[in-house]
């Protein structure tokens, strides 16, 4: 009884000990926060990686890929059996995209061009949710939509057919103004075009860093008076209306700047009515993210759904040569994994196969570079992978067969390692706090020496005296750990608000969205982890009080009574 009473009284009267427990509290709070954020990140990453990658990828190292996709898919189907949920064939090839920007120059980006089957690709991996157009999220189509991209995102400029038509009109307008002879044909749309032009200019001025040249090139446009002054200097660039590359294209020929385009079958290609083959561009390929003068994060789009881009890549022949064509951006891909968003571009599988020459006209079979599988939830990925490896032995087939974990193994392992190391470090911090408790407790035992003597003189056994201090340490540990957990959970709950507050305080962004594709800091609080942390902290507090408690128990009653 006296043990509890005295531990309680010591707890209430010795605030210095509570100060020593603050370090435990802070340690626990940090552990809670770090674990929540780390597992939030890890979970987010897992989900995204898994979503973007399919469960199992069978990839061919050959230039021309697997010669017969249908045969391979049938064979894989029979090997995997009932576990198979979906399967799709993919061609991917390193490529280069040229995005024309208004002053006649172009932005070039290296990309990873993926030819996908629009019907099955979205079944295999999480592709559709990362698209901007709601209809494309339901069913991907490589046909340009009239509008309505990225609903709910105010900063996203209007795109689609409407944007395409407006742009073409503006371009034609510009040409008419610069070459009056060629402008005769389209007077009917003049009024509408003027209004559109104005809108386009505003849009461009807001969002397009390279748009300055556009108003420069159209000084006579009604309502554009404010752009009058700087005219002339760059006109030479803008007037340049020939795009030499056009002549090399084999199937569809077009000039985004208004040259008369001719289809391969002889029909006239009118950008107002026609589109090239569709391409879904990774959003970071088509845009750049930086800060304006106010420090706000802004996205600038080099091109939008409705614009045309030129893509160049090697063909699959024995002597690879570069092939290229114009594509119309029909949507954008935003997985929020910067690595993917800045490299992936998707085009229809058949088009890519044809352009690369992966088509055998005699037998009517198509080659693919990889086959991706989705298997039943809960199926053993490694077992299926091993079975596939057995059936496609490396001696015969130059294939790599990997699960999504294999593909992202190093990254996942790195995150795991980071979490482990952080946990160890933070527990060391709590251990340091434990030494603080040890020191404080020794002080308290010294201070209480006479009381310990009194208790012993009154017949308290050594074990009882010891348990006073163990109880005390336990109570301090519990108080500290619970307070720490509460603090940590509050921090985690309001972590985004806190990050915002720190931003306003320091003027620096905690999680820079130009680096991380996170709008919010992801957190996951795992109850088991919290319990572990609390138990660990309490244990450390108790362990730290063992030595002082032993010392108290060993005190000689007479010596203790003499102590002053």
């Amino acid at each position: 009884m006296y043990k509890l009473l005295l531990s309680w009284r010591y707890l209430r009267t010795r605030y210095i000990a509570l100060a020593s427990i603050v370090s435990v509290t802070l340690g626990v709070a940090t552990l809670v926060v770090v674990n929540s954020v780390m597992s939030g990140f890890a979970h987010e990453m897992h989900a995204r990686l898994h979503g973007i990658l399919s469960d199992i990828v069978v990839e061919s190292y050959e230039t021309a890929g697997m010669p017969d996709a249908t045969w391979h898919m049938e064979k894989i189907r029979s090997i995997v059996g009932a576990d198979l949920e979906a399967i799709t064939a993919v061609v991917h090839v390193p490529a280069m995209v040229n995005i024309p920007v208004p002053n006649g120059r172009s932005v070039t980006r290296p990309i990873n061009l993926v030819g996908v089957d629009e019907k099955t690709y979205a079944q295999v991996c999480e592709f559709s949710p990362h698209l901007l157009h709601p209809e494309n999220r339901k069913q991907l189509s490589f046909l340009l939509r009239s509008g309505g991209y990225a609903p709910g995102r105010t900063a996203f400029p209007p795109s689609g057919w409407q944007h395409r038509r407006n742009r073409v009109r503006i371009e034609r307008d510009i040409q008419r103004h610069l070459q009056p002879s060629a402008a005769a044909e389209s007077k009917a749309g003049q009024e509408l075009a003027d209004a559109d032009t104005q809108r386009k200019i505003e849009r461009s001025a807001d969002f397009d860093p390279l748009s300055v040249a556009l108003p420069q090139s159209s000084p006579q446009l009604p309502g554009s008076g404010r752009f009058d002054q700087p005219l002339g200097q760059k006109n030479d660039d803008v007037v340049r209306d020939d795009v030499p590359a056009v002549q090399l294209a084999d199937s569809q020929v077009s000039d985004p700047f208004g040259n008369v385009p001719v289809n391969s079958n002889g029909a006239v290609f009118d950008p107002v009515k026609h589109q090239h083959t569709g391409v879904v561009l990774g959003i970071a390929i088509a845009s750049t993210r930086h800060r304006d003068a106010d420090g706000q994060v802004r996205d600038y789009y080099y091109c939008l759904p409705g614009d045309d881009v030129q893509i160049t890549f090697p063909n699959a022949s024995q002597k690879p040569t570069a092939v290229f064509d114009w594509f119309t951006v029909v949507d954008m891909y935003e997985s929020q994994m910067s690595e993917y968003d800045s490299t992936f571009a998707f085009v229809p599988l058949r088009k890519l196969q044809e352009m690369r020459g992966m088509f055998d006209p005699e037998q009517g079979i198509y080659g693919v570079s990889s086959i991706q599988l989705k298997v039943r939830e809960g199926a053993n990925l490694n077992a299926i992978r091993d079975k596939l490896r057995e059936q496609f032995p490396a001696t015969t087939y130059p294939y790599s067969i990997q699960t999504w974990r294999d593909l992202q193994g190093p990254l996942l392992a790195a995150v795991q390692l980071e979490t482990t190391i952080l946990n160890i470090l933070l527990f060391l911090i709590i251990a340091v706090a434990g030494f603080g408790i040890l020191a404080t407790f020794f002080m308290i035992v010294v201070e209480k020496t006479r009381d310990i003597g009194i208790l012993k003189a009154l017949g308290a056994p050594s074990g009882g005296v010891m348990s006073i201090f163990l109880n005390y340490g336990f109570a301090l540990g519990v108080v500290g750990a619970i307070a720490g957990m509460a603090l940590g959970l509050v921090f985690v709950t309001y972590i985004n608000e806190i990050a915002g507050f720190v931003e306003t305080l320091t003027g620096r962004e905690v999680f820079d969205p130009t680096v991380y594709y996170f709008q919010q800091i992801p957190v996951i609080t795992d109850v088991a982890t919290m319990l572990w942390v609390v138990c660990g902290a309490v244990l450390i507090a108790v362990l730290a009080s063992v030595l002082p408690a032993l010392r108290a128990a060993r005190l000689h009653p007479v010596e203790a009574l003499r102590h002053e």
């Binding site: 009884m1 006296y2 509890l4 009473l5 005295l6 009284r9 010591y10 009267t13 006479r450 009381d451 003597g453 009194i454 208790l455 012993k456 003189a457 009154l458 017949g459 308290a460 056994p461 050594s462 009882g464 000689h556 009653p557 007479v558 009574l561």
Partner: protein, 272 residues
């Protein structure tokens, strides 16, 4: 304080060996005869020395001392003569270098720590020169401390009401009913010493060992404390060993023993 309130009787244990069975031997040390008539508590040929660096300071050099049941003995001696040391040995707070400490016929200096703890808790009440109250506890809780030690949480909570009544009763005996919830630092020296007396009596011990119970008090407080002890001895036949350096106070006891140069030097019966 001179008159004991009615109902005081049950406060002190009646489970004492009847004094007819125990006859004290008459003073002079005669080791062959000793075990025949055991004291209630006795020290036989006890030596105790303290180590001070390489130097050994002998404090007790073969003390023979016994107290009969119901006796009121005072121990006097110069400062540093070893009175407190002897009392600590008798109270099982320390063990002698040589010799024996006996409770009745039971030798106590070499039994388990548990047995000695129980002896201190239940059979003896100690009053210290410097009060030695626990500063975190109130007056009442200090008085209850020995019961809290002997009883577990559950039995203490079960008997809480009875324990508290008894504590309040004892505090009334020592005249502290108005200071129940004070902390020791809010009490005067006399009040603290009376609290210590109440605490020593809470477990209904057989004997009381008091180390200079009046040492730091003014004459009026001293007289009151002394009166309480005398009343307890007279009305309850409580065995009391009282250490003092004041011959006048020592005279109040039934018998006086003098410690000199580590030996029990002089024995008087009431008259020095």
């Amino acid at each position: 304080m001179s008159s004991m309130p009615v109902g005081y009787e049950p406060l002190i244990a009646s489970a004492r060996q009847s004094s007819s069975q125990l006859t004290a031997f008459t003073g002079q040390t005669d080791e062959q005869q000793m075990p025949a008539r055991p004291y209630l508590l006795a020290a036989q040929n006890v030596t105790k020395s303290y180590q001070k660096g390489r130097l050994q300071i002998p404090v007790l050099k073969g003390v023979n001392f016994g107290v009969e049941p119901g006796e009121f003995v005072s121990i006097i001696g110069q400062s540093g003569s070893g009175k407190s040391t002897l009392l600590h040995l008798l109270g099982m707070l320390d063990v002698p270098d040589e010799g024996e400490i006996c409770l009745g016929l039971e030798r106590m200096d070499n039994v388990s720590a548990k047995r000695r703890d129980r002896f201190r808790n239940e059979q003896v009440g100690m009053i210290f020169q410097f009060y030695h109250l626990l500063p975190e506890l109130t007056t009442r809780e200090n008085v209850l401390a020995p019961l809290m030690i002997s009883q577990g949480v559950f039995s203490y909570l079960k008997h809480r009401r009875r324990n508290r009544e008894r504590a309040d009763q004892l505090l009334e005996v020592v005249g502290l009913s108005h200071r129940l919830t004070h902390r020791p630092h809010e009490l005067s020296g006399g009040e603290m010493q009376r609290t210590a007396v109440a605490r020593a009596l809470i477990t209904r011990p057989q004997m009381l060992l008091a180390d200079e119970p009046t040492g730091n008090l003014d004459s009026e407080n001293s007289a009151e404390i002394l009166q309480i002890l005398k009343d307890l001895n007279r009305d309850e036949q409580l065995t009391i060993v009282m250490v003092t350096h004041d011959r006048d106070i020592a005279k109040e006891a039934g018998r006086t023993v003098c410690l000199r140069e580590g030996l029990v030097d002089e024995v008087g019966h009431g008259n020095l």
